[in-house]
Symmetry: C2
Subunit: 315 residues, 2 copies
């Protein structure tokens, strides 16, 4: 066990000074440092302020703030975690979001959208979970992927010989970055927007979903791989929750009666958010049932919940 | 993308003061904060020192140093990671090590030995990996577990109806803590040191291994679940590496000719340490072959390497 550590930072003032003012100003910094301070009044010789850091605080690695490469990407619940980032591979602003691809020694390239870790090259577990964890038979099936710009799902699904996969991604620049720098995730599937059994539409998925619902277009599987707070070109709803319900509702209009809908949920301990989400599932245009699975996605550094949703069988 | 943030901390000194001395003393703190400072000399009115923090540094959650519950357990390569710890369940010093069991909302109880995260209740993946990832048939077999005081391996193996499992754990207090607080990991298998098909010896495994080797005792499987830097009652070797090779050498004396040895290695990116370890495998009393697997153990927050070692088939 690390011995208690003790470190002092002494500074002497050359003349009498307003120690109280100095202390007040410094307090917030020292509080964060976990330092206790004591001020000794040397009468007219000035003030000696001593700040003591103890109990192994220096055991902690220093935070490298304002460094050239940002290694810190807090978790869904705001915990501080440091990644082994050694290179900024891609950093662009699209009309919709900031797109970074950073290299981690252990996770490979990581896609970070507007500060949220989305997907790393190590994260096949995410793709497998959102595809139903190996329990589905995709051959000869019609599929819709919402979002998915990193190409991970598309890449795995085309291997399984589907009939047709339609992927609707709003941000061309995510595709541009990932087809170049996330090839362990997407392979060559993003090199063309059309393939034998797939097509990628660069569009906002809301109008597309409405169109499909209107046309009566149906899919065997719908996979929601949108960002946690989805982007919209024309936000119709007042709140994120209403928007999520709109997407859910529209998404449940296009699976066949015996079709399935897969989506990622949230961090396993955000129980309130998960409950709210499950509540939304009870308010869709048709009654549905759902199951969930807790999955360890390597680069997330926190356990994640994935949902499978399907229409309740008609009596 | 987060807008650049700007925060100033101003403090005025009531009279002329030795600004340079103050600055020197404060520099190390502000450097860690990533603050730039400028000092304005107001001539005889004193010094105004301004410290500016910018570029989203306040985006980072504050480090809660010297808090009641330590949430920070750095990784193998010294990265700062914050766990969602909300309770100290167990904290004792045994004659060999400090034993903490801390509760994490998502990982359940976590066993931390002398500051190293060893095992959490969420980490079945560790146990499965060190048991050969489902590829082995343990029924009717003789097995030796070195260490394993959290009971995870023993618990999973007795379900598979082995002939006899011998577990050699040096620290009774690890067993005491885990049988009480890690029951999702060990079930009830640590409630007694003897069962139908197992026995737990509270001993240093080195003399036990030497005894078994001398007696010609052989096992189908040997699983090394010792701590990364193993404890010994009488260190015979000068360095940790020599000690690790001693354990490896002794461990390879007790499997049958077609037996297997499983162990955890290290963090996937500690390539030098892993190479050194593999080099040790080439210097044992008999020639061996090995394979390795990279596994995501949920509570580790870093990818881990597991080894399978077996004796080279005789010509």
């Amino acid at each position: 066990m690390a011995a208690a550590r003790h470190s002092t930072l002494d500074f002497k003032l050359g003349a009498k000074a307003d120690g109280e003012t100095i202390l007040k100003g410094l307090w917030s910094i020292f509080q964060e440092q976990g330092m206790t301070e004591s001020v000794h009044n040397w009468q007219d010789h000035g003030y000696l302020a001593t700040y003591i850091n103890k109990n192994g605080s220096f055991r902690l690695p220093p935070i490298i703030r304002a460094g050239a490469i940002d290694r810190y990407w807090p978790t869904a619940d705001g915990r501080l975690v440091e990644y082994d980032i050694d290179e900024v591979v891609y950093d662009e602003d699209s009309p919709y979001q900031n797109i970074k691809i950073l290299h981690s020694k252990q996770f490979g390239n990581i896609l970070i959208l507007s500060g949220d870790v989305n997907m790393a090259e190590s994260d096949l577990a995410y793709t497998q979970a959102i595809m139903g964890s190996g329990k589905e038979d995709y051959s000869g099936k019609d599929m819709l992927i919402l979002g998915g710009g990193d190409g991970g799902i598309l890449c795995e699904i085309v291997k399984l010989k589907p009939k047709m996969v339609t992927m609707v991604e709003i941000d061309q620049m995510v595709i541009d970055g990932c087809k170049k720098y996330m090839r362990k995730t997407c392979g060559n599937v993003l090199d063309n927007l059309k393939g034998d059994c797939y097509q990628v539409l660069i569009e906002d998925c809301i109008p597309v979903l409405k169109r499909y619902a209107k046309e009566g277009r149906e899919f065997d599987y719908v996979i929601n791989d949108l960002t946690a707070v989805p982007i919209s070109t024309s936000p119709e709803e007042d709140s994120t929750w209403e928007f999520l319900r709109l997407i859910l509702d529209l998404s449940m209009k296009v699976p066949k009666q015996d079709g399935k809908y897969f989506t990622q949920g949230n961090w396993v301990s955000l129980t309130e958010a998960l409950s709210l989400y499950e509540e939304q599932l009870g308010h869709l245009y048709c009654p549905v049932e759902f199951s969930k699975e807790i999955v360890c996605v390597p680069s997330y550094l926190e356990l994640w919940v994935f949902y499978t949703v399907w229409k309740k069988a008609k009596p």
